[in-house]
């Protein structure tokens, strides 16, 4: 198994604010990884750096052995926490858009997923609810054949039934050459999906371990452990 994501003493400051401090991580291909931490712990910053949207202050990040750049953009499929899609577009325009942008975009897969979720491709984005827009965006991101999927809060705004469908999509989409990193607060809903979890606290990695190890060691679910570790 090869290493898809590698961070070496990565640091990111925003002015005097230390968002990430001395982060060392190594993530292999073929894993589903939960990136967990309270608000402001650096999850989104980490994902943005991996996607090349932010530059680290110091340290190194490698994706499939390469620095974030043009090459890595074709390997990474990123779902931001906020939508960036244009309201005037129709779902079907977005399919064209993604098809133009990404060589690995599988249009028929996206069409299938939209129809399973009951989303009509001719509907304008501005006529969709917030949750439906999130579904559309996730469909687009998951329809790429990427090596690394970075999903920032993918299920936050969607109803439980659609959540199940989305998690199922992640499972069925899984293959040993791709890794999915999911940042979320809805741990209970997704923890049975994870191979590994990373706990981030105030910009530092608290631990990175396999979920079944964590359960065996602590006799607790990831959700329970999170509540204890980050008790306010």
């Amino acid at each position: 198994m090869s290493e898809i994501l590698k961070l070496n003493s990565l640091e990111k400051r925003f002015g005097s604010n230390m968002a990430l401090h001395n982060v060392n991580l190594s993530i292999e291909s073929g894993k589903i990884v939960g990136l967990l931490g309270p608000n402001g712990s650096g999850k989104t910053t980490l994902l943005k750096i991996a996607n090349g949207l932010l530059q680290p202050t110091s340290g190194e990040i490698l994706i499939g052995g390469e620095k974030p750049g043009v090459e890595t953009k074709s390997m990474v499929s990123y779902l931001p926490e906020r939508t960036y899609i244009n309201n005037w577009m129709r779902a079907k325009d977005l399919l064209d858009f993604f098809g133009d942008f990404y060589a690995d975009f599988d249009r028929s897969k996206a069409v299938d997923m939209l129809s399973s979720l009951g989303i009509e491709p001719n509907t304008k984005l501005k006529e969709m609810s917030k949750g439906t827009k999130e579904k559309v965006q996730l469909v687009l991101v998951m329809s790429r054949q990427a090596k690394l999927y970075l999903l920032d809060e993918p299920i936050g705004g969607v109803d439980p039934a659609a959540r199940d469908y989305i998690l199922n999509t992640i499972i069925s989409n899984y293959n040993e050459n791709s890794t999915v990193i999911i940042s979320t607060h809805l741990i209970q809903d997704v923890e049975k999906l994870f191979d590994e979890v990373i706990f981030l606290s105030k910009g530092e990695v608290l631990f990175h371990d396999s979920v079944d190890n964590v359960r065996e060691k602590n006799g607790k679910s990831i959700d329970q452990l999170f509540r204890e570790v980050f008790k306010c």
Partner: protein
């Protein structure tokens, strides 16, 4: 419908138990081919790696075996399945005794209560 799991215990162990139960109860017959890892993972709603690990452990215990290129099969060793069934029954029985003892029942009382219930069962049939 995904399988039910207790998130505080390793999932692969729980998958193993569930598959064992399916073998004992005959839902997966001796010698029958199992669904693929991916299908099972989807059915259970778990990560394929976790399912893989559970199947690997079951293979080590001899309950299933894999045939190169054609998949995984339930063991043809009926004795092994029988022994597994017996073990599980013993486990359930001892749980049952534990809980009745916790309620303050003596062994004589437990015997009585079992006899009564067996009679009721037989009448029902």
């Amino acid at each position: 419908m995904p399988w039910d799991f207790d998130n505080s215990l390793p999932i692969y162990l729980q998958i193993m138990d569930k598959i064992k139960l399916k073998i004992i109860s005959g839902k997966y017959r001796s010698g029958e081919k199992l669904p693929s890892v991916r299908e099972l993972a989807q059915e259970a709603g778990v990560n394929p790696n976790t399912m893989q690990r559970a199947l690997f452990e079951l293979e080590r215990e001899g309950l299933i075996f894999s045939v190169r290129t054609s998949g995984r099969f339930v063991t043809e060793d009926e004795q092994l399945i029988g022994a597994l069934r017996h073990n599980l029954a013993m486990e359930k029985i001892s749980e049952f005794f534990e809980s009745l003892k916790a309620l303050g029942y003596s062994t004589t009382e437990i015997k009585q209560i079992i006899d009564e219930n067996i009679k009721l069962l037989e009448k029902g049939e």
